[in-house]
Symmetry: C2
Subunit: 223 residues, 2 copies
DNA sequence: CAATATTATAAGGTTGACCTTATAAATTTG
DNA sequence: CAAATTTATAAGGTCAACCTTATAATATTG
């Protein structure tokens, strides 16, 4: 019996966002993303393990089971649908929508979710470019290439920001690094240093400097 | 500092629904409506009193302060706006919308609330006929007359169901006792007994029997 | 006005989700 | 491979919101 508590949902979602569907995620990383102590995260992992939502390999990390993946994707579906509603229908802030939708998500029944999906026209992607899982908890593939992988001069179109976070989205919106826009790397500092990008949008291009950690969150498709 | 916890919101809303804006409500009644022990309700009332949200007269009851009334109405505004969205845009069940909107309400910031209100076209009433408080926490008057007050033969139009509850709304939907429909009392059993009503809807009229306790929740306007 | 019912308060318990501190075990790194 | 780091587990604590049981105070009713 999966209890559907708010914090269980947050743990499952974080696990999925950190790659726990296909590989093991160190519990420390989960704790960090949730702003929680490693001990607390460990305790929760025990509970999630008892519910067969995760598989825990000590000193290695934690991986979502098939059941856990379905649950996580169902949480993500709810959140991304709300994001669409907030951005496209309520004209709310693109970056803030992630956090606002997260709150709504916890309060949303499957029935409301599917009615919302119908109302929105069964959208395929959230406003940040990430695929919306289907009602059965299956999710499509995202691009595997990020800005951090681009060669100098290569032009690519931004597809998605992943994983999302209020902070990062806020920052990227300011720099115009939004899905749909074109980017290329002008220069890359050596030793894993920052990138200088050319961001193209409508008629005006602009140069921005971006650390590799953030660049790797911006998924792109080559032109 | 009003903390905006889910249960504080529920207590404030229940108080408003039980008439705590204009008169004292016995704590026992609040406990009953929330499905909570009288002791728990008492504890919470102490906390609400410390936050100046209510005024408690021992052995008499509890009344919302001006601040408490504003808070309660802001909660009610959020919930009723979501009800409109769920019923009018997502085509969800008229009776179930009250409970579904209650969940969403707790997760809704003022910003989302006002954008939602704009999206919905600043509606004046919820699907159950009750007025939607304005953003400052002011609320319009409802009808003072219920079906229980009607004389035999008098025809009236249903305006609202108040206070709402999933159970009651479910029951009334089955009996076709919905806002907008016309009713009259055919017969009233003596000694506060049940009423026999004629419910008119489009072309088909039907007779229904209704206890006084429920009849008094159906607010009407005389024809 | 005495009996019954309601309301208030005290004391102690539970649960979920956190926390800190401390120790032990395993892994990674110099 | 020893030292430093990360991970696990144990022990004990906090907080909000509930609970029960018990007693005391006040109201209402027969």
């Amino acid at each position: 019996m999966t209890s559907r508590s708010e914090s269980v949902e947050m743990y499952l979602k974080s696990l999925a966002e950190l790659g726990g569907v296909s590989s093991s995620v160190p519990i420390g990383r989960v704790a960090e993303r949730l702003g929680v102590s490693p001990v607390s995260a460990n305790e929760m992992m025990k509970r999630l393990g008892e519910q067969s939502l995760i598989h825990h390999i000590p000193y290695t990390g934690v991986k979502l089971t098939a059941k856990g993946t379905r649950s996580a994707n169902s949480v993500i579906r709810r959140q991304r649908l709300w994001e669409i509603f907030l951005v496209d229908h309520l004209q709310l802030n693109w970056a803030a929508a992630y956090d606002m939708a997260c709150d709504l998500e916890h309060a949303t029944s499957p029935e409301v979710t599917e009615s919302l999906a119908a109302f929105l026209g069964q959208p395929a992607r959230c406003p940040h470019g990430n695929p919306i899982p289907d009602p059965e908890g299956q999710i499509g593939k995202s691009s595997e290439i990020s800005i951090a992988d681009l060669e100098i001069g290569q032009i690519a179109r931004i597809q998605a920001i992943f994983p999302e976070s209020g902070e990062v989205l806020e920052y990227l919106a300011e720099k115009n690094l939004l899905p749909g826009n074109l980017v290329s790397v002008v220069e890359a500092e050596p030793l894993e240093g920052p990138l200088t990008l050319l961001v193209e949008r409508e008629n005006d291009n602009e140069q921005v400097i971006l650390g590799l950690n953030i660049a790797s969150l911006i998924l792109v498709a080559l032109k």
